[in-house]
C-alpha cells in the first residue's frame, strides 16, 4: 500500500508543522503577488505521524541490507558500516553547521576534513587530496577534467581520446564522454590482464589518458601495470586510477607507486560509509605531481593552528567546484571515523582479509565444480564465476541463480558484469564476513544447482519467499508508471501531479 493510499483529506501530523493555516497563512504570505502563488495543492499525503512511522518502518523491512543479509555484490564492497561512524558524524554541532558559516565557527569539523585529506594522501601515495567529489563517478569526472586541464594548460590540445579497457565499469566511458573525450576501448587478454600489445597500437598523440581499475573489475590484479604506465606516459597521456577496488590493496599497495597520476577513492566502499540504498557516497580525489594543482576546490588548508577553506583564489588552476559547497561532508566524517578506527595497520588487514575471503570462496566454489572466470588467477578482493556451463546443461541463467539466492537469504552477487565473462557472477565477500557465512553461501550455490538439476522451474520462478515474485521489468519499461496519481486525476488525465482541490487557504 502506498503512503498516498493512507491519505485522508484533512488528516495531519499536527506536531510537525507550524500552526499556520487559513487566513493566518494568507496574512503571512500577503506580500507575495497572487499570480506567483500556487493555485492547487501538490499531491502530498495527508497522514498522521504514526502512519508515517509505521509505513516507512514496514517498508524498510522489505529491504535486504548489510545489517540483515550477506551482500556479496562484486565491485560494491558491501562491508559492515560501523555504527560509531553514524553516531559520531551525526552529533548536533556537525549536523547544525551551515556550510557558509565562517571557518572560525567550525574548526572541529575542518580539522577532521584536514586530517582525512592527509590520511588519504598516505593511503594513495599521491601528493594532494580534494574531498569534494560526491561519488566515484564525480571523482572520475574531476580526474579526467584535470587531465584535460593539464593538456590544455600545456597547449597540448590534439589529445581527444581516453582509453578504457573493455571490462571497465560504465562510469569510466561515460565520464570520458562528459569530459568531451572520445572513448577508445582496450581489449582484455585471455588471462584477464589488459592486452598490452593492443594498447601499444592505439596509444598515440591523440591519447589524453587511460582509465584503469586495479585490481580490475575482473577481480584480478593487472600485473603489467608499470609497463602500461610507461607506454601511456611515453605517449604523453596520463593515467587515471578508478579506486573502486582499493579495498583489495588498501594499506599494501599505493596507486601512486603504480604510476597513476590521479585517482578517486570510493569512500562509501573502501572506507565503509553506508550505501544508503543508492547513496550518498564520497569520491575523494587524489593527484600526484603533474595534476595536483588542478584539483577541485574547496580543499582544507592549515594556517598555523587554524584550518580554513582554500577556494578558487588560493588555487587558480583548479578545475573549479563540483557542488555548491564542499561535497558530502557527513559522509566524509563517517569515513574519517572509520579511518581513525582502522589506523594504518587496520587498513592493511582490510586488504588481507578481503583477499583471503575472496580466494577462499573461489577455492570452495571451484572445488564444488563451479567455473572461475579466470582460472589460474588469484582472486583479488573479488572474483568472477561463469555460470555458462550450468546455463548450457541445465537451462538456468545467472539471473535465475541470483534470484534463487535471495530465497536462501543471500543478496545476489553482481550479475552480467563484466560482460566479458558469460553468465557472470562477480562475487565480493569483503573482509567483515565470517567463514561460516561464506561456507553457507557456497552450500546454497550447491543446493541451488541441485534444484536446477531436479527442477529448473524452481529457479525460473524464483524468488518465492520474498515480498514479491520476479518482476516483469520489460513490461514496466513499456508501461512507464513512474508516479502514483489520484484516482480522479488518473481517470481524467488531468494536469501533471496536481490535485483538483484548491489550496485550503484560497
Amino acid at each position: 500500500m502506498l503512503i498516498f493510499e493512507h491519505s485522508r483529506p484533512g488528516r495531519r501530523a499536527q506536531a510537525q508543522a507550524p500552526d499556520l493555516s487559513g487566513a493566518a497563512l494568507e496574512r503571512a504570505l500577503e506580500d507575495i503577488p497572487a499570480r506567483l502563488r500556487r493555485e492547487r495543492r501538490p499531491t502530498l499525503p495527508e497522514v498522521s505521524e504514526m502512519q508515517v512511522v509505521r509505513h516507512y518502518t514496514g517498508l524498510s523491512q522489505k529491504n535486504f541490507s548489510i545489517d540483515t543479509h550477506f551482500y556479496p555484490l562484486g565491485s560494491c564492497t558491501m562491508k559492515y558500516n560501523p555504527r560509531a561512524s553514524n553516531s559520531l558524524a551525526m552529533q548536533p554541532p556537525f549536523l547544525g553547521r551551515h556550510p557558509l558559516a565562517p571557518a572560525g565557527r567550525g574548526q572541529g569539523f575542518l580539522e577532521c576534513m584536514y586530517d582525512l585529506q592527509q590520511i588519504l594522501r598516505e593511503v594513495t601515495g599521491m601528493r594532494e587530496v580534494s574531498l569534494t567529489p560526491m561519488a566515484g563517478a564525480q571523482g572520475e569526472f574531476a580526474g579526467v577534467a584535470m587531465i584535460r586541464a593539464y593538456h590544455d594548460a600545456r597547449g597540448d590540445s590534439a589529445r581527444t581520446e581516453v582509453l578504457v579497457p573493455d571490462a571497465a565499469h560504465g562510469t569510466n566511458p561515460a565520464t570520458a564522454t562528459m569530459c568531451g573525450y572520445k572513448v577508445r576501448e582496450i581489449p582484455t587478454g585471455e588471462d584477464g590482464d589488459v592486452d598490452l600489445e593492443a594498447l601499444k597500437q592505439v596509444v598515440g598523440p591523440q591519447t589524453a589518458g587511460i582509465m584503469l581499475t586495479n585490481p580490475s573489475t575482473l577481480g584480478v590484479f593487472e600485473r603489467r601495470i608499470r609497463d602500461i604506465a610507461g607506454v601511456v606516459h611515453e605517449a604523453g597521456g596520463l593515467l587515471y586510477y578508478d579506486g573502486a577496488n582499493l579495498n583489495a590493496i588498501l594499506g599494501r599497495v599505493r596507486p601512486g607507486d603504480m604510476g597513476f597520476d590521479v585517482m578517486h577513492l570510493n569512500l562509501h566502499k573502501t572506507f565503509s560509509t553506508p550505501h544508503g540504498g543508492g547513496g550518498p557516497g564520497a569520491g575523494a580525489i587524489a593527484a600526484g605531481e603533474r595534476l595536483a594543482e588542478f584539483l577541485p576546490v574547496p580543499m582544507v588548508v592549515r594556517d598555523g593552528d587554524a584550518f580554513r577553506w582554500a577556494g578558487e583564489a588560493d588555487r587558480p588552476r583548479s578545475i573549479g567546484r563540483l557542488s555548491a559547497f564542499m561535497g558530502n561532508a557527513g559522509v566524509l566524517l563517517r569515513a574519517y571515523v572509520y579511518a581513525r578506527m582502522l589506523g594504518g595497520e587496520g587498513m592493511r588487514r582490510v586488504a588481507d582479509f578481503a583477499t583471503l575471503n575472496a580466494n577462499y570462496m573461489l577455492a570452495c566454489l571451484a572445488r564444488e565444480g563451479f567455473t572461475p572466470g579466470y582460472p589460474g588467477r588469484r582472486a583479488s578482493h573479488e572474483f568472477t564465476l561463469t555460470l555458462k556451463p550450468e546455463a548450457k546443461k541445465l537451462g538456468v541463467t545467472a539471473l535465475d541463480f541470483a534470484k534463487r539466492l535471495l530465497d536462501y537469504g543471500f543478496h545476489a552477487p553482481t550479475i552480467y558484469f563484466p560482460m566479458l565473462v558469460p553468465e557472470c557472477f562477480l562475487i565480493e565477500p569483503t573482509e567483515t564476513e565470517t567463514r561460516e557465512v561464506l561456507d553457507a553461501f557456497v552450500q546454497a550455490m550447491v543446493a541451488i544447482r541441485e534444484e536446477a538439476e531436479r527442477d529448473p522451474e524452481i529457479l525460473h520462478g524464483a524468488p518465492h519467499a520474498l515480498p514479491v515474485r520476479r518482476l516483469d521489468e520489460v513490461d514496466a519499461a513499456r508501461t512507464l508508471n513512474l508516479r502514483w496519481e489520484p484516482a480522479d486525476e488518473a481517470a481524467s488525465g488531468g494536469r501533471a501531479g496536481e490535485e483538483r482541490r484548491r489550496l485550503a487557504t484560497s
Partner: protein, 450 residues
C-alpha cells in the same frame, strides 16, 4: 583487527583450502616493489577513543543562531525522519538492483517521485542527483540533448541564479563546449531584467529561471517561460522545494510550463551538515524522459500479478549505455531521498505551506526589524520569498564577524559575486527562529553598527 571476524583457526583452515601458507602469498601476483605498505596513518583507535576524539572536535564548533540561507536552510526536521532513515535496512542497503530484495526502498523512491512531481507540477521525477548545483549542470546537458528544435550549445543563465550553482554547472558542462550566457538583473527589483532580454537571442538551447532567485526575489516566471518558448528554447527551472508549497509550480509557468525542473532537496528534512550530503532533485516532462539522467523507478507486476517496483529505463544509464549514457552518475544520494520522503509525508501539503509561510513571515519581520536600524535598507524593492538582501552602512565582512562573536550567523556576504551591490548581506529566517531570536539579531546588529 576491528571489524574482521577471523579467528586464527579460520585463517589456518581457509589458507589450507586455498592451498597457500600465508595471506601474503595471496598477493603473489602483485609485483613486490609495489607492495610498499603505508606509513604516516595514525594508529588505530578503539571506538571509545574515537568517540572521545570526535566529541571533543564537535564540542569546539559552537551552535550559533543561524540567519544564513543562500541555498541551505535551517528548517525543523521531525525526529522521526532520521530515526527511521538510519534503520539498518535503509542505511546499509545498496542500490536496489535486485528489485525483489529491495521493495522497501523502491516503493519509497516511487513515492518520492510522486511527491516531487507533485511539488514541481511535472510529470516525472528521477530518484536524485548529487546536489542542487550539479543537478543544474546536468539539467543544462539534458536541455541541449533534449531540445529538438535547436542544435545550439548556448544556455541563458541569469546572474540571479546562485553563483555557486553557476560555477559548479559551468565546470560540469564546460568540457562539452556548452556555454552559459549571462542575463543581467534589474537593480531595482533584483530580478531578471525583462527589458534586457535580447530581442533576437539567436539559437539558444535553454533559459534557466530561478524561483525564488538567489536574492530571494521572485522572478516573473510566466513571462520568462513564454518568452523562452517563443525563442525555441527550453526552460530549466531551479526552485526551492519548500517554496513550491506556496509558489506557482514550474509545471504551470506560462502557457506550457517549464521543461526541466531541478533544485536542492536539502530544505526537505536534510540537516545543514556543512553542505552535504544533500541531494539534487530533477523533474521533467514525460516527453524528455529518455534524456533524463539518474535512476528511475517504475511500478511493475510480478509473476503472481502483484504490484511491485523496479528500476527502469536503465538503458539511459552508464552501466548499460556506457559512453552514450545520459550522465556518468551512478551512486546518487539515496538515503537523503529516504529522509525527504519521510519529511514530506509528515508535513503534507498543508504542513509544507505552513513552513513556507512562517519562514517567509519571519524573514519579513527580520527585514523590518533590521531596516529599522539607521543605514540598513533593502537592496531591492520587489516581492521576495523567505530571503532578502540588505545593504549595510559598514563593511559586511566586519559586521558578520562581530555578529559571529555574539553567536549569530548574520547572513551571506554578497560582495564577492556582486560587487555592484556594495556592502550587501543576504538574510533568511526560517520557521525555527522565534520572535526573541529576531530581536536578538536586531539588538546585536544595533550594537555592532553603533
Amino acid at each position: 583487527m576491528p571489524f574482521i571476524p577471523h579467528t586464527q583457526q579460520d585463517i589456518d583452515q581457509m589458507l589450507s583450502v586455498i592451498g597457500v601458507d600465508s595471506i601474503d602469498a595471496l598477493f603473489d601476483e602483485i609485483p613486490g616493489e609495489l607492495q610498499t605498505g603505508i606509513d604516516g596513518v595514525p594508529e588505530g583507535l578503539g571506538e571509545m577513543a574515537v568517540t572521545r576524539l570526535m566529541e571533543e572536535r564537535a564540542a569546539r564548533d559552537p551552535r550559533d543562531l543561524c540567519f544564513i540561507g543562500a541555498g541551505a536552510y535551517d528548517h525543523h526536521i521531525p525526529a522521526a525522519v532520521w530515526q527511521i532513515t538510519t534503520r539498518g535496512e535503509y542505511y546499509s542497503a545498496y542500490t536496489p538492483y535486485q528489485a525483489e530484495a529491495s521493495q522497501g526502498n523502491l516503493q519509497l523512491i516511487y513515492e518520492y517521485q510522486t511527491m516531487m512531481a507533485g511539488l514541481t507540477g511535472m510529470e516525472v521525477s528521477n530518484a536524485s542527483m548529487y546536489d542542487g548545483a550539479s543537478a543544474l549542470g546536468e539539467a543544462a546537458l539534458m536541455a541541449v540533448r533534449a531540445n529538438r528544435r535547436s542544435r545550439s550549445r548556448r544556455i541563458l543563465m541569469p546572474t540571479t541564479v546562485n553563483p555557486l550553482y553557476r560555477r559548479t554547472a559551468e565546470v560540469i558542462v564546460g568540457n562539452q563546449g556548452i556555454t552559459f550566457e549571462p542575463l543581467d538583473y534589474d537593480p531595482a527589483t533584483g530580478t531578471i531584467d525583462s527589458g534586457s532580454l535580447p530581442t533576437d537571442p539567436g539559437d539558444v538551447a535553454a533559459l534557466v529561471i530561478p524561483q525564488p532567485n538567489f536574492f530571494g526575489a521572485l522572478e516573473d516566471v510566466d513571462a520568462l517561460t513564454d518568452w523562452a518558448h517563443d525563442q525555441g528554447a527550453l526552460v530549466i527551472a531551479v526552485v526551492n522545494p519548500t517554496a513550491m508549497a506556496v509558489l506557482s509550480a514550474p509545471g504551470s509557468w506560462g502557457a506550457e510550463g517549464a521543461d526541466i525542473v531541478c533544485g536542492e532537496g536539502q530544505p526537505l528534512g536534510i540537516p545543514l551538515s556543512s553542505g552535504g550530503p544533500y541531494y539534487g532533485f530533477m523533474c521533467c516532462r514525460k516527453s524528455h524522459l529518455r534524456q533524463l539522467p539518474g535512476r528511475l523507478v517504475a511500478r511493475a507486476v510480478d509473476a503472481d500479478g502483484r504490484d511491485g517496483y523496479t528500476l527502469t529505463l536503465q538503458a539511459r544509464e552508464q552501466h548499460i549505455r556506457r559512453s552514450k549514457a545520459t550522465s556518468n552518475i551512478c551512486t546518487n544520494q539515496g538515503l537523503m531521498v529516504t529522509a525527504s520522503t519521510i519529511y514530506m509525508a509528515l508535513l503534507g501539503a498543508d504542513g509544507l505551506a505552513a513552513v513556507a509561510g512562517r519562514s517567509h513571515a519571519n524573514t519579513r519581520a527580520l527585514v523590518e526589524k533590521l531596516t529599522a536600524l539607521p543605514g540598513v535598507e533593502r537592496a531591492f524593492g520587489g516581492a521576495y520569498f523567505h530571503e532578502a538582501v540588505l545593504r549595510l552602512p559598514r563593511p559586511a565582512g566586519e559586521v558578520l564577524e562581530a555578529l559571529a562573536e555574539r553567536g549569530i550567523l548574520g547572513g551571506c556576504r554578497l560582495a564577492g559575486d556582486y560587487p555592484e551591490l556594495g556592502e550587501a548581506l543576504l538574510v533568511s529566517a526560517t520557521e525555527r527562529r522565534t520572535g526573541a531570536d529576531l530581536d536578538r539579531y536586531a539588538a546585536a546588529l544595533a550594537e555592532v553598527l553603533a
